[in-house]
């Protein structure tokens, strides 16, 4: 139907969303710099998104993480103007979203960006297959064609045989698979996930996360994933933006966040993360000194610490950490053990 790349990048520059009366006026005055509580006190407005800028590469899984009220859900809704941003620039696949006409915007939502919601947003009066086909129906695709497509997608998400059920006959996890299928059915370039798994049981959540990783491998869409769960963020995200009070406080790879938190807020967040699961050897290797043997086994610098354990147990010699041919440093058992030990509060 449409000729274009399979996935598209997103560029966001200086995005603001202020709720409340006279939002425009707040934006142009110095009030916008106030703390949230002070801002509300003074103007009755809430700045949900404050001057946010980031880029998502085509095909990337980009995670926005923050606690509730940090503005992450508002941010993701601004991307397709489900919530109208107050100011800023958004481009998806190079097209300016904020200047799009209503028809253009619908076109964008119909074909290029689709979304998965926390509470699924399924239509209880429609069968699963009609829910999945909803996006196509809205586009005006004929019934036979859209049902055929919906069946394919149902197979893809593992819901074969449930096409004729109604949403309330399915478990929560299955319902979210329907939500996922509905988003996939329109073959979007970008998929937005608004805390899709937070309403699910832990076990099912793990399955669904695996499902996302699998799907990403298979269909390779650009994904923007909102979550308040750090473990989820670390698991899925190629890059993670941490939001607080409407602003991004740090944006980086999981390793960067855990290894080099930008401020106390982020540090506090990542304190309980097992570093060995996230950090690679690059973060703990040191310059070899004269005592170190250079005979130890080599490992690439991107190897996770936990994955180096096995090698370390097999040899008493320090492991040589390499980046291609180049030697980055060495790591010995003690370094690995130290990295794996839970961090103690400084006062202890």
């Amino acid at each position: 139907m449409r000729i274009g790349p399979e996935s598209a990048g997103i560029e966001v520059k200086g995005l603001w969303k202020i709720f409340g009366p006279k939002a425009e006026r707040v934006l142009t005055s110095d009030d916008r710099l106030l703390e949230p509580a002070a801002l509300r006190e003074r103007t009755g407005c809430t700045a949900a998104v404050r001057d946010v800028s980031f880029e998502v590469r085509p095909g990337e899984v980009f995670v926005v993480m923050g606690l509730s009220g940090s503005g992450k859900s508002t941010l993701v809704r601004c991307l397709t103007r489900l919530i109208e941003p107050t100011a800023g620039e958004i481009a998806i696949g190079g097209d300016d979203v904020l200047r799009a006409t209503p028809a253009g915007l619908r076109e964008l939502r119909r074909h290029r960006v689709s979304m998965v919601f926390q509470h699924f947003g399924l239509l209880p009066h429609r069968r699963v297959i009609d829910n999945v086909a909803y996006g196509l129906e809205v586009q005006g695709v004929a019934k036979a064609a859209r049902h055929a497509r919906a069946r394919e997608i149902l197979t893809l998400v593992g819901l074969d045989g449930h096409a004729g059920s109604y949403p309330d006959q399915l478990s929560g996890g299955m319902q979210q698979r329907v939500g996922l299928a509905r988003a996939l059915a329109v073959e979007p370039q970008v998929m937005l996930f608004d805390e899709p798994f937070s309403a699910l049981d832990p076990l099912i959540r793990r399955d669904m996360q695996a499902e996302i990783i699998r799907l990403h491998r298979e269909v390779g869409k650009t994904m923007v994933f909102i979550t308040h769960d750090l473990a989820e963020a670390l698991k899925l995200g190629e890059r993670i933006a941490i939001m607080r009070d409407g602003s991004i406080v740090q944006l980086g790879t999981p390793e960067e966040l855990v290894g080099a938190p930008a401020d106390d807020y982020v540090a506090d967040f990542v304190r309980d993360v097992p570093r060995s699961d996230v950090l690679s050897l690059r973060w703990i290797c040191r310059e070899p000194d004269e005592h170190d043997s250079m005979e130890g086994p080599p490992l690439p610098a991107s190897t996770l610490i936990k994955d180096a354990v096995q090698v370390a147990t097999a040899t008493a010699l320090p492991i040589r950490v390499t980046d291609g041919e180049r030697l980055v440093g060495v790591v010995d058992r003690v370094d690995i053990l130290a990295a794996m030990a839970p961090r103690q509060p400084v006062t202890a």
Binding site: L105, R110, L123, H125, Q139, R182
Partner: protein, 632 residues
Amino acid sequence: MAAEPGLAPPPAFRLPRWAAPAAFTLVLVLAYLLLRGSGTLPHDDDAPQFTAITELREWVDAHKNDSPLFLYFVNYVRLFIGGLFALLQTSLHGLGWPGLIGVMGALGWLAGGWRTGLLAMASLAACGVLGVWTLTVDTLALVGASVLLSLAIGLPLGVWAGRSPRLRRALGPVLDFMQIMPTFAYLAPMVLFFQIGAPAGVAATMIYSIPPAIRITALAIEQVSPTAVEASASLGATPRQTLTKVYLPLARSTMGLAINQTIMMALSMVVIANLINSPGLGSDIIKGLSRENVGLMLPAGLAIVLIGIALDRTTMAASRQRFRPSRVPYAVAAGLAGAGLTFVLPAEWPWVLRTAQPVNEAVRWAERSWFEVTDAIKEAVSLFLLNPLEGVLTSAPWWLVALALLALAWRIGGVRPAVTVAVCVAAIVLLALWEHSMVTLAMVIVAVAATLAIGVSLGILGARSARFSAFQRPLLDAAQTLPAFVYLLPALALFGATRFTAIFASVIYAVPPVVRLVEEGIRNVPPTVVEAALSAGSTPRQMLWKVQLPMARKAILLAANQGIVMTLAMVVLGALVGGGALGYDVVSGFSQRTDFGMGFAAGVAIVLLGIMLDRITQGADRRPPPLRRKSL
């Protein structure tokens, strides 16, 4: 908390909490004793306000055939409504009784399965057996026409209001007004615009039944899951697609309730519409009323209840269940079969049970044998309750009563209700209806007190005994669907034409919803709370007074509120059996040309009284319960 002045050391002497209100009450009582008889506003049938409205009416009447408003609008509306009604009436009669029963049964089956279908058929057949078939069909046509129009206007408006809070706020008071305005009061203007006959009846019924169509639809739309709406928008649905594919289907079952309520309201209005020569069951009821003939009224009244049951169950089932398209052909076949039988079976309903004679004898017997008791009750209530209250309200200076009302509203609800009350009081005074309003107020107070006493007791009993609840439920159901007119007659037979009769009838009318609300309120007390109270060793009595009733407070207040509105609605009808005051003004305004102005003004005054009482009781509801207030 920090700013709480109460944290300062308590003063040596502190007035108890009740001191200020008590002192104020004392001042009011003293003022009354001193000023009694002065500053009253005695009623005058020929107040300039009334004559002005009457003259306006005469002027409109005189220009019916030359004003463009009538020539190009009102008369076309009348012709359109009349045409719609004639169409329905003709088609329903054209189906014949087997056809109509077949169609109703098919619809019932389609909506809710064979039970509903059989119930619908049996209800309709029973109307035939009662000997009121043709009137029943006329009533169905009248209800059908007005419900169709109500829905045609009400549903779109409701959908709009559901998505626009601003419109919702704007519509609120208008709908309140339409619902509290006694139906009698707008019959006269209806006649002025649409003449007597079916169109005016349909229009009046429509006005009465449109508020629930709008309100409940708006609620239904409001309640649609915002995520589903967002999901639809995120997939690029146009607003129209979101409306037809998300809002409407998701709101369907609640909108079914809107339709259901609209039909019920219309049914309760059809009797009154008969006063302006609309056809239907009401004619028998009105005839019965003017001839004190319960036997004549009863079949018609029962037929209305039966139609109500059939339509209620069918629409409720339709809104609850998923639509099964596979059933449509069978239903059509059943309907056709019924219509086909029309050609085989006799055109007239074949078998009628005559009940008038025995019913009348039973009524006469009751009248004779209970007269002593009923008369004593009536006299006691009138002399010891009603007359003193009325005396105080009408002999006190009007501003003193107004002040007391204002203080009450302010004390219970705060500033806003007080302002509303002030506006209402002022308007009543300006309408020159102060004295009659006070007489009506006295009646309403007594009736609401009785309604609450009976309703709350029955509600408590029902909540505590499942068996009692099961026993009273069908009675309450019937009492609620029975047209209000029907209550008037036994009341009249027992108590004669007095204010007490009107009060009695309105108590019967208003008790069922009160019982229901109270019972539900008590049942809805969370079981964990009840368990906790039990484990703390509460006696059943303590449980009731310390746990269940306080927690059902909201429901009881709502019940009081409902009781007031329903009592006011009944007060006008009560005028037909000696209720007097505002209700009588409305009725006579409707039947005497020269009193049109007074009748119309009295209708407005009833609305004002209603809004006033409504706001005061609602104010009580909005206030946080005492416990939380103390801790603040």
